[in-house]
Subunit: 426 residues, 2 copies
């Protein structure tokens, strides 16, 4: 099936877009950064403001029993669900997820102002706690039926030791129902976000059409050798755990490129020698190894290769190495190809040659939604690749271009009448 080669073009209002982004920035502003963690008083205040803006845009609005803000179109479906998050990291930037939510607001307004698109249905969500003050992607997981507000979940605490239950009570949300995805309503889910990396800037591009959200695996490799005096232990008699670690790490750096995909990344972020003093041959050592890719098969291959390198290290016999998976394995989430095509076509229309397709290396709510709906993501450049920091920024030109592309893509996703291939959560 081919969609029209000349998409409907949506006209957005750049001043209105930037004005709302700046107003949202005012909630929790801290110098050039923003501190607006989930369900903090300033976050709750900002949610009421957002709800009023969605209401003014002609949507039916509510804040659900977890704090997620919804604006629902009064047009009949099928609808496009546009979402992101307005909560921030403990020291966050002003755009991050906030930009994607205000994009949703502006798309809903812009489509309603144009004869060709005013009949289309766009719902907007600001998912609670994507950043995980209590639990990462809390709102999208609950919406998709993957998480229920049990007593255990109510007992989750944030960095200040406050429980989710108490935070919800203080926000006046106790007893308010938690919204669930309406089966059959949505053609898909779309999310815009800053890139949080340097790739677009480095490639001289302004729009990224996301192919997949990468998965990651984390391991520790622990080495057990023999602690000894660094002066009196001859080299030939040493069982130096640090030496074994360095050789394994060297082999990781040397051989991972052959095994990796084009966009795979791998990181040794931590190394510790024990006892870690100048005159003692280390008896124990430990390193952390992480790798990420959008393709589960590549992650499997990298893990298999890492295990082979550990076996190779053990065959050298310098120290005994043991590799253990740690933390929660994150599964790659492919974005929907047809939705992505709409983003690419809109990008080509508004910025010819100025876009690329690329994976997302960071976690987003779209990773959850993609398990239930066709999902798409779009990136705009992060200046210097900086995010999760006060200095995070994107040029106004890129913010406005991104919204133009996103609005045009959204309209065409709906006009393309994509069938809801994936059912919503049970």
């Amino acid at each position: 099936m081919r969609r029209p080669s000349n998409p409907v073009n949506v006209t957005i209002d750049p001043d209105r877009l930037l004005g709302d982004l700046r107003r949202l920035r005012g909630f929790g502003a801290c110098g050039i950064g923003v501190v607006r963690q989930s369900l903090s008083p300033i976050d709750v205040e900002s949610r009421h403001w957002l709800r009023s803006r969605l209401e003014e845009a002609g949507l039916d609005t509510r804040i659900d029993g977890l704090g997620t803000v919804f604006g629902r179109s009064r047009n009949p479906g099928p609808a496009l669900l546009i979402g992101s998050h307005t909560d921030t990291q403990p020291r966050g930037g002003w755009l991050d997820g906030a930009m994607g939510v205000i994009y949703g607001l502006e798309v809903a307004r812009s489509l309603a102002e144009c004869d060709e698109t005013r009949h289309l249905a766009v719902d907007v969500a600001s998912w609670i706690d994507e950043e995980g003050a209590f639990s990462t992607c809390l709102g999208s997981l609950a919406f998709c039926g993957e998480l229920a507000l049990t007593n255990a979940v109510r007992g989750l605490t944030n960095g200040e030791g406050k429980s989710l239950g108490d935070a919800l009570r203080e926000a006046g949300l106790e007893g308010v129902p938690v919204e669930r995805c309406e089966r059959g309503r949505y053609v898909g889910y779309a999310e815009a976000h800053i890139e949080q990396g340097p790739w677009l800037e480095h490639q001289g591009k302004r729009i990224g059409a996301v192919t997949a959200i990468v998965g990651s695996r984390n391991f520790t490799v622990a080495f057990e050798g023999q602690q000894n005096h660094a002066g009196t232990t001859p080299m030939a008699l040493r069982r130096d755990a640090g030496h074994a670690l360095v050789e394994l790490a060297h082999r990781v750096y040397e051989t991972f490129p052959e095994q990796a995909g084009e966009r795979s990344v791998w990181t040794i972020g931590r190394i510790a020698l024990d006892p870690g003093v100048q005159s003692i041959v280390p008896g124990r050592a430990e390193m952390h190894l992480q790798f990420r890719d959008e393709d589960e098969a590549i992650l499997d291959r990298l893990e298999e290769h890492a295990r082979a390198l550990v076996a190779e290290s053990n065959a050298r016999g310098r120290a005994e190495a043991r590799m253990t998976e740690v933390g929660k394995r994150s599964i790659p989430a492919a974005m929907d190809g047809r939705l992505r095509e709409h983003i690419e076509r809109a990008a080509e229309h508004h910025a010819p040659g100025g876009w690329i397709s690329m994976p997302s290396a960071a976690i987003h709510d779209a990773q959850v939604l993609a398990r239930h709906l066709p999902a798409a993501m779009m990136f705009v450049p992060s200046i210097g690749g900086v995010s999760h920091a006060f200095e995070e920024d994107t040029s106004e030109e890129d913010i406005v271009l991104g919204c133009r592309v996103f609005a045009t893509a959204a309209a065409n996703m709906l006009l393309g009448r994509l069938p809801p291939d994936h059912g919503p959560a049970p």
Copy 2:
């Protein structure tokens, strides 16, 4: 000049030797270990006991103004000075330096009991604070005129915060003169010690004739790259300080064997990545590099080579590496070849084929004395290479054999009438 191929053989009294060693062990015994740090009450008590044993051996004795115990032969010189130390580490073994001091006592007694050797002059010293509770090799440095008891030295404090001045006052040593080396008296200095390493045991040998006390150099190499998000930063754009460190460390392990001497040792005892967490590409990293050898020219070559490896790392451009020397450089001290020959000949006599010549990788008072007198050292095996630990031990057979060899060597050093090539300290 050839010395007699059949040395005079000295007969020692093994029970007397082991009895005195066990009595000394009782001062500060702590399970199978010993805690007898310099100028602690139990150390001072042990010094008075040692003085009385030297007195009983027919020597003129004194405890000098720093706590060093001396026993001086009443025979005319030239004399052989035999020394070591009876102080211990905070958690020390029973032999360490104590064995060498009791060897000196037993040599003095044994030589006096034999017609062939009773005219020979052996002086015995237990140098204060070789282990550095206040300052490493304090007694031998003062004896050689390299350190004076200034107010600054009196102000040095031990691990409990007690000053040397106060410790000397409490020991009743305030105002007592500090002994100085008598010019022209000594043919040389001899010290016996446990090996503190596994080499003799590993080689199946019982006596080590020390060729030199090794020197050591210590460096840090600091790497400055660019801290980044481990998910969103593509491999090609990374400036990973940890990666640069691992590659340099790998090159150290790979290439040092070509540059090193037969007995050189090199150790990377500490590695730190900053910030050292799993999802961040390290922006800074630091490693410690130490190497030791008995040959200053080899140390120079290793340092030059390490600097070349740092330059090679900087040429790769992954991060900026900077190498800085840290701590005090220790200079190798060659032992006197003719004195060593007496040890080797005595060893061959008492344990044919059971000895080797080898360097000392640890610091000893002989390192200080060697700058002023012809000096020699002899090692006996440490079980499992363990020292500076409660578990440190040497078999009784090896302790007794060591004393036989040392006594025979000492007699022949004096009978050989070695000219005092080196003058004493000014």
